[in-house]
């Protein structure tokens, strides 16, 4: 974004208003739909404004990691599909996709949202592995929050497939839920000039100086990621975390936590 276009964004923020008329700390309409893919063991669609993201979960059985022989495993992948944004190219995940996956991963992993001990089948030999895949359908800004919400919603409706001790029958779903604890809520706060906003649209994302994604579990912070080219002061960080805690209450209600 050029200097002059950014000046215009700041002209709006000075009046307490955004390019689309929202207030600085206002989210666009958030919609969550569960179980959107019958092929997945759990899935969800999240819309934030026009941004649309899908998350799908597949379960498999694998050997636990040698340093955690009594626990199942989890992995999260993300793809910024070229379908969702004319600027996205085909090909293996670029750094934006990798960062997105790893940030969502940290929130869920560090908050121990999945009870990995309950995924164990046979110590050191067999445990369930949870594979979460996030794909973008339409990018209108704020993929971080949409991706995190979609992953949570998908986890909530994940059911184990039938397993007879030797083979998994993916066609038969049991009604046994995935063992999950409290789910972390992720909020991304942006700094543009001296102003802080949440839920940026595509234009605002281009004007960002710095962003902070905060994953919150209960009253604790369980993951942080700072992005953007400009550094921030510790006062900025405190302010952004306060905003994240405040907005997390809204998102918590929407997802039914």
């Amino acid at each position: 974004m050029t200097y002059e276009n950014k000046q215009n964004v700041l002209k709006y923020l000075k009046e307490g208003i955004r390019l689309d008329g929202r207030k600085l700390e206002e989210y666009r309409a958030v919609e969550v739909e569960s179980d959107i893919s019958k092929s997945a063991e759990g899935s969800a669609r999240v819309k934030i404004g026009d941004t649309e993201v899908l998350a799908g979960i597949k379960l498999a059985i694998d050997k636990p990691y040698p340093d955690t022989p009594e626990e199942g495993t989890m992995m999260i992948g993300a793809e910024l599909l070229p379908l969702s944004n004319p600027e996205f190219e085909s090909g293996p995940p670029n750094i934006q996709a990798v960062e997105l996956a790893r940030v969502v991963d940290r929130g869920i992993r560090e908050s121990k949202a999945i009870n990995t001990k309950k995924l164990l089948i046979e110590k050191g030999e067999k445990a369930w592995t949870v594979m979460i895949d996030i794909v973008t359908l339409n990018d209108a800004g704020n993929l971080f929050d949409a991706a995190a919400l979609a992953s949570l919603a998908a986890l909530k409706n994940t059911k184990f497939p039938e397993y007879d001790g030797t083979k998994i029958d993916y066609k038969k779903r049991t009604d046994k839920d995935l063992p999950i604890n409290k789910l972390p809520i992720s909020v991304t706060v942006l700094k543009i000039g001296d102003f802080f906003i949440v839920d940026p649209n595509s234009e605002e994302e281009k004007a960002v100086d710095a962003r902070l994604t905060v994953a919150i579990s209960g009253d604790k912070i369980c993951a942080l990621q700072k992005g953007g080219d400009m550094p921030v002061t510790t006062e900025d960080i405190k302010k952004m975390i306060d905003i994240a805690f405040d907005k997390s209450k809204e998102l918590k209600k929407i997802i039914g936590e």
């Binding site: 974004m1 050029t2 200097y3 002059e4 000046q7 215009n8 009046e15 208003i17 390019l19 008329g21």
Partner: protein, 233 residues
């Protein structure tokens, strides 16, 4: 016996049979297949006597000579600037078409227009390979500063402008914004934040509802109702 299968302003899709028989003449957006005339684009039917044509409802901008467009500088080289036209083809703005000033050889051209600058330019030439030349020499042609850029479906530009500029004039008056509408669907506007937001919402409304009759009245009503609200803020 020839028979029209549609009426004026009907929405048709590729493959729709719009007429049967040999008395009708297929024009833009339609073609003859045997005894029938079919549509080959998504659009609104327009019947002019025996001629059937179509106003497209979607499609990217195809650059045309003499069009006034709003473009963005994406590269600077020795002889001029490369400009993004919001189409599949970028354009060239040569030195001699950009300024009447004397420019020394090897001068820093970014002093005139830099990458990211927006400008209102006229297309002076389009080759068979869709190579485009622009000029900034002409009334109203210039670099634009500040303000805000939005992009709309270029097929809706005539509705946003209106007959002899009537529609865009109403929007300018009600919102207090300066507005320049490029034929390529790129629009520059500048005003107060509230004025700009109202102008953008109005233009988006025209984009959504251009095919529904009574547009002018609805737009006037929309501007009236929202004009008051934005002042209350």
């Amino acid at each position: 016996m020839s028979e029209l299968k549609v009426k004026d302003k009907d929405i048709v899709v590729p493959g729709d049979i719009v007429a049967e028989g040999i008395d009708f003449l297929p024009s833009y957006g339609t073609y003859r297949l045997g005894d029938n005339i079919l549509a080959n684009r998504l659009g609104l039917i327009k019947i002019e006597g025996k001629v059937i044509k179509l106003i497209p409802l979607s499609g990217k901008y195809l650059p045309k000579k003499n069009d006034i467009i709003v473009g963005k500088v994406i590269d600077v080289n020795f002889s001029g600037w490369r400009v993004d036209t919001n189409s599949a083809y970028s354009a060239m703005l040569g030195l001699k078409d950009a300024t009447s000033d004397f420019v020394r050889r090897g001068a820093d051209l970014t002093k005139f227009y830099d990458i990211g600058d927006y400008m209102v330019a006229e297309i002076i030439n389009v080759t068979s390979q869709n190579l485009i030349d622009l000029t900034l020499k002409g009334p109203g042609l210039r670099k634009v500063r500040g303000g805000r850029i939005i992009t709309i479906n270029p097929n809706k530009v005539p509705r946003v402008i209106g007959k002899q500029g009537s529609m865009v004039t109403i929007i300018k008056q009600s919102t207090g914004c300066q507005i320049i509408v490029g034929q390529n669907g790129v629009i520059w506007l500048e005003g107060t934040p509230q004025g700009e937001i109202l102008a953008v919402r109005t233009i988006e409304k025209i984009e959504q509802e251009s095919h529904i009759s009574g547009l002018t009245e609805r737009v006037q009503k929309f501007l009236e109702e929202n004009k008051l609200e934005s002042k209350v803020n």
